[in-house]
Structure formats: structure tokens, C-alpha cells
Amino acid sequence: MASSNPSVFLLMINGQIEGAKFPEYDDLYCKYCFVYGHDWAPTSGVEEGISQITSKNRESHNLVWNFPLDITFKSTNPFGWPQIVVSVYGPDTFGNDVVRGYGAIHIPFTPGKHTRTIPMFVPESTSRLQKFTSWLMGRRPEFTDPKVVAQGEGREVTRVRSQGFVTLQFNIVTKDMKKLGYDTTPRSSDGASVTSLSAGDPTHTL
């Protein structure tokens, strides 16, 4: 474990998909997966999962999954930093499962606890004819691979409709990033403990 000259750094992610807000839909479940660059590899944990189906609370209209995330990655290069891709599905009026939203976000890289709310969107048909036929058939457009929402290329051709939010919690631990020379937090926070000490202790002021 203790190596003086590391060649990789580790990113440990603990967290949960807490829940969602979708004003128009109910009885939803979600899937998640991770998208990461070539230099990245998972060392332990599960890369994808599928949650239970949850219904809205009568008062708060919240959807709660409380679905655990637990994975560790190793890498040599921050480029291709992992993103979590979440897709939410639920039944339409005929009982078929249709997509209610896709969303993605980069895993935070500063150690500690983070809460992130990500917007969820679905692709829209571009032509009115397609819109009409999809309404008639009860099928709406979906991405064949949800991982496209984590990519920056080729998005200019898509039209989407954002219709909800998913809340995620992350507890991040990194190892050996500092040893490899990466600064992920501002220098002033290192010195924060020193200033608070001198402020609290009057003998330090000359």
C-alpha cells in the first residue's frame, strides 16, 4: 500500500443515487454506468447497476432510490476523468417502459462529500412527422447507447427536452494525486488550519 514512488493514482467513489424530481412522471427506476478515458481502469466495485422502481411520496412528490454506488478507479492521467451516466425509465400509459431522462456528470475530484443535482433530458424527434408517428405508436426516441450523453462530440444535431433532475451524493477519496504532482485544491486551504490556529490563540499574535 505504502509506495514512495507511485505511478498511478486512485480515485475511490462511495455514494448514492439519492432520488429524483420528475413533475410529470411516476413509478420510475434508474440505471447507471461509468464512462472514462483510455488511461483509466476500475480496480474494484461495480461499474453499472439498476435500481428498484420507486413511486412518489404523496406530500413531497419526491422519488427516492437511495441506491448505493461504490467503485474505485486507477489512472495515470486525469484526462478522461470518469463520468457517471444515469438514465431513468418508467412506464407510459400502455405499461411499456420508456426513457424519462438521461443525464451525466463528472465525478468530483476534490476529496470529501459532494451533492450534485443533474438535469435529465430525453431526445426529441426533429421532424413533425416523426413526432406524430412516435405519438401514434407510443414509442419515443431513445439513445441506443446512453453513454453518448457523456461525450462532447456530435451533440449539435440533437434536440432534447429537459424534464427532471436526479440528485447524487459522492464521498470522494483520492490517493497519490499529490505525490504525482497534481494540485486539485487551492493552496490557501492548506494554510487555513494555520490561520485559524493563530486567530484562536492570542499568544501567536506579536
Binding site: 505511478s7 463520468q83 451525466a104 463528472h106 433530458f121 494540485d183
Partner: protein
Amino acid sequence: MRCMLAPYTAREQYLSFREEDGDLWITNTKSIVSESKVPNSQMAQMHSLVRPTVLISACRSGKQIATNLSSDINTRFRGGRTSSWKFRDSWYVLWIISLVDFITKCEGPVWLMAELHIIGHIIGASGFPQTSLFCKWGIHTGGAWRLLSGLREGQTQVDFPQVGEMAYWSHPIDIHYTTKGLQGWPKLHVQVWHQDSFGRCELYGYGYCHVPSSPGQHRLQCATWRPLGSWQEQLAQMFVGGGPQLRSPDLIYSGADRYRLHTVAMGMVEVELGVILRHFDRYGVES
């Protein structure tokens, strides 16, 4: 002086090796400029930037070290190529790897260029007259900055939000730069466009913000503006849409030629950027 040639790419480029007064020199036969001397000590490395992204290193050593080294390099750099051979009394290992691999994966006393990673999202925009919006974005840097990997410009999807007044794009950004100087620290510039139900596009705003220079996660709000035409143009815009646009988008992030421009405030673009710095402290840069 003795010479030998070694092919190293599919493009029929050759490296010539020659020895002069006990020093080994490597020259790329296509570009004479990249000639380098290999130090005489064992395991020493020589780096020569022959092609923009390819870096060549050579080292002289005993046979056992040479074989160990080439297998070590093969495991560490998946994309790299190595070869070893005997020339006179020493063994030489040559390896060809991309500059990115070299900078990020090599250890020890190699070039330590300062590196900057920008990782984040363009979240969305609010405060515009309509909510069906998309955004063209780009990152502008000074000449000392070099893009190693990632996209430096792009265009988001068009969002028609169902709830609320904000259009969400969640467009990912992941860029890796190295730099030799601080001038021209990266700036993110955006153009917000409105797309109506007929697919017509109209400019809604220009804006830019500096990429934060301190490491960590940052949430930025980028204020935008749009050029205002004459009163005739404004009247026409009220009825038929459209409106003036900048002829050169450089004006978004430069202050040089703005003094005669008349503009009006538009909405806000929200961006979340994470900044990771590497090796800036070795050059005494405080951030």
C-alpha cells in the same frame, strides 16, 4: 565516425545514429533540426521532438538492461514501440511514444512541463427571452499553450425545457493543456443561440469567462450580451427576428475593438469547471 540507420515509422522515416568523439548523436533524416546527443551514462535518455506529437527516446546500456528496459516500456506504454540493438560495444534501446504518454507516464528527471486539466460541464443558461437554446463554445489560449488531448470547441444540444426557465445542456468538457508560460491563460467563450420550432436559429448572446487559475471545483456565471443595431434594425428585429452579429468572433474575448459597439444585456450561462494543475509549483507559480 560511424553511422547506422534505423527505421521507426511507417512513413519511411529513418533515424541516423552516429558516434563522434565517444558521443552518440541521433538525427531524424527528414528534419535535420531534430538532432540530439545521447549522454554517455547508462540509462540516460534523449528526447527529440521529431513529429509534433511523437517523442523519441534512446538510451545506451548493457544487454540485460536493454532487454529489461524494452519489456518494461512495452508494458507501461501500450501505444509505444521499442527496439533494441547492438552498436559497437553498447546496446541501445529506442522507444517511440506519444508526447502525452511521455509527459503523464514517465517518471524521473524528464521534462516537467506545467500541465492544466479543465474538467467540467456547461450546465445551461437562464434569463434569455426564450428557453429553447443551444450554445457554441470554445476555449481560447495564448501561443504558449498546447492542447494535448480533448476538444477545444463544440456545440451543445438544443434544449426545450419542460420545467422552469432554464435550458440545460450538461455538456461535458475535458481538456488537457501543457504550457511554457502564463500569458494567455485559457478563456472559455460562448455564443448562445435560440432555435425556434421551425429550426431557425437566432443569436441571443456572446460572453466569455476566464478559466479559474486556482485548482479545485468552480461554479461560474458568464454574463452575456448581444450587439444592438440601429433603431430601424431593432424595429425589424421585433417583427421578423434576426439581428446583428459580430463579423469576427475574436471580439468576444478581446477588448481591442469594442469602443464603437452598442450592446444590450442578455442572460447568464452557468458553467462548472474543475481545474487540476500539475508542476506549476516547480516553476514557482503560485495559484
